[in-house]
């Protein structure tokens, strides 16, 4: 019977001591998120857009291509999110890595994208962000720091993105 009592108590003790130690370690080890490299690109609407002009707003930066099926779904998702959270400070910038800007513009129109569709003709921005797969969605906080990066999203990933987005909008 005593052994039965001892075990849970010892467990509680170990857990509490670890929790106490863990709080201090976590606070010291936290590193600031990296700053998003600034860029300026021409959009399909003819205007130029600079990322740093969106300081103070949460930016969802998505890299995509017209030949990528998953990218279309991501554009639709972001279009929907912008409709819901646009007034709360969400901005969406879609960077097309296509060689043909017109093809990218046509696909973006078909997805109902109401946000700037930028054309990275020289691939400078893709290189600066070390683009590895398509689509790639980055969430950039109001201070211009990259807080999270997502590849192709399933339902669970979509929920995670939404949760992170809400957290950033609340900051």
């Amino acid at each position: 019977m005593h052994a039965n009592i001892l075990k849970p108590l010892a467990l509680v003790l170990v857990v509490t001591v670890l929790a106490a130690a863990g709080t201090g370690v976590h606070a010291d080890a936290a590193e600031p998120p990296p700053a998003a490299p600034d860029f300026v690109l021409k959009a399909t609407d003819g205007y130029n857009y600079r990322l740093s002009e969106y300081r103070g707003e949460v930016v969802a930066l998505v890299f995509w291509a017209s030949w990528c099926g998953a990218c279309r779904r991501e554009l639709e998702r972001l279009s929907e999110l912008r409709g819901i959270y646009g007034d709360a400070g969400l901005q969406v910038l879609a960077v097309a890595v296509d060689e043909d800007a017109q093809a990218a513009a046509a696909v973006a129109r078909s997805t109902g994208a109401g946000y700037p569709v930028l054309h990275d003709a020289a691939s400078n921005v893709s290189r600066a962000y070390a683009l590895e797969s398509l689509p790639m969605t980055l969430l950039i906080d109001r201070a211009g720091r990259v807080r999270s990066a997502h590849g192709e999203l399933d339902a669970a990933g979509g929920r995670q993105l939404l949760g992170e987005l809400r957290t950033l909008l609340d900051e």
């Binding site: 005593h2 009592i5 001892l6 108590l9 010892a10 509680v12 509490t16 205007y47 130029n48 857009y49």
Partner: protein
């Protein structure tokens, strides 16, 4: 269980009594030890959590104000230091005897919507700047943008500026303006001014030197 030998039975009971007499005291000790350790652990955890989360609750408003003033003073010091470092860096990287700076300004802009400016010095591209809507509007409100800061050795240099944008009737418009600058010992400042020539309904690009 039957007990045939009372002596043995007495010894057994005595042993059980002895056993019982020892066990409860050891159990209590262990129980207390565990309780004390648990409480100690909980206190430790509470203290650690309090240190990480509660200092704000424990501070008085006066302490907060003092802290806020200190933070503001520190921020100001950082801003001043940053400015000094920036100026020092510019002086080191672009000494006055070789420094050349090119500025872009706009006046009115009825016949031209600026998109980009490219600067070529002695046949070499040195700057290519895309203007956003906000930046173009800032120029129209009287702002001046430093499009290039570089070093040139004393002597004559050919500078060409290409302006790209939309002209009248939303047509694509590209114009160049060339200037030969004579770089002396002091810093050289060049202004690229875009203005309207109302008589011809055309934009005008003026390159002007400042000493």
């Amino acid at each position: 269980m039957s007990i045939d030998n009372p002596g043995i039975a007495t010894a057994m009971f005595a042993g059980r009594r002895r056993h019982r007499a020892v066990r409860p005291s050891t159990g209590r000790w262990r129980h207390w030890a565990c309780a004390v350790l648990t409480v100690a652990g909980l206190v430790l955890a509470a203290v650690a959590l309090a240190e990480s989360t509660a200092p704000a609750q424990a501070q008085t408003p006066a302490t907060f104000q003092g802290l806020d003033a200190e933070v503001q003073a520190l921020k100001q010091e950082v801003v001043d230091l940053n400015r000094d470092l920036f100026m020092l860096e510019e002086e080191l990287l672009f000494p006055a005897n070789t420094q050349v700076a090119v500025f872009v300004s706009m006046d009115v802009g009825t016949f031209f919507a600026l998109d980009s400016v490219k600067i070529v010095v002695d046949g070499k591209d040195v700057a290519n700047y895309l203007y956003t809507q906000r930046e173009a509007e800032a120029l129209l409100r009287g702002g001046v943008h430093r499009a290039w800061l570089g070093n040139l050795k004393p002597g004559k240099h050919e500078m060409t500026a290409f302006f790209t944008g939309k002209g009248t009737h939303d047509r694509d418009y590209k114009r160049g303006a060339t200037l030969t600058i004579d770089k002396g010992v002091g810093a050289k400042y060049v202004e690229l001014r875009i203005s309207d020539r109302a008589s011809q309904l055309q934009p005008e690009f003026v390159v002007k030197e400042w000493e």
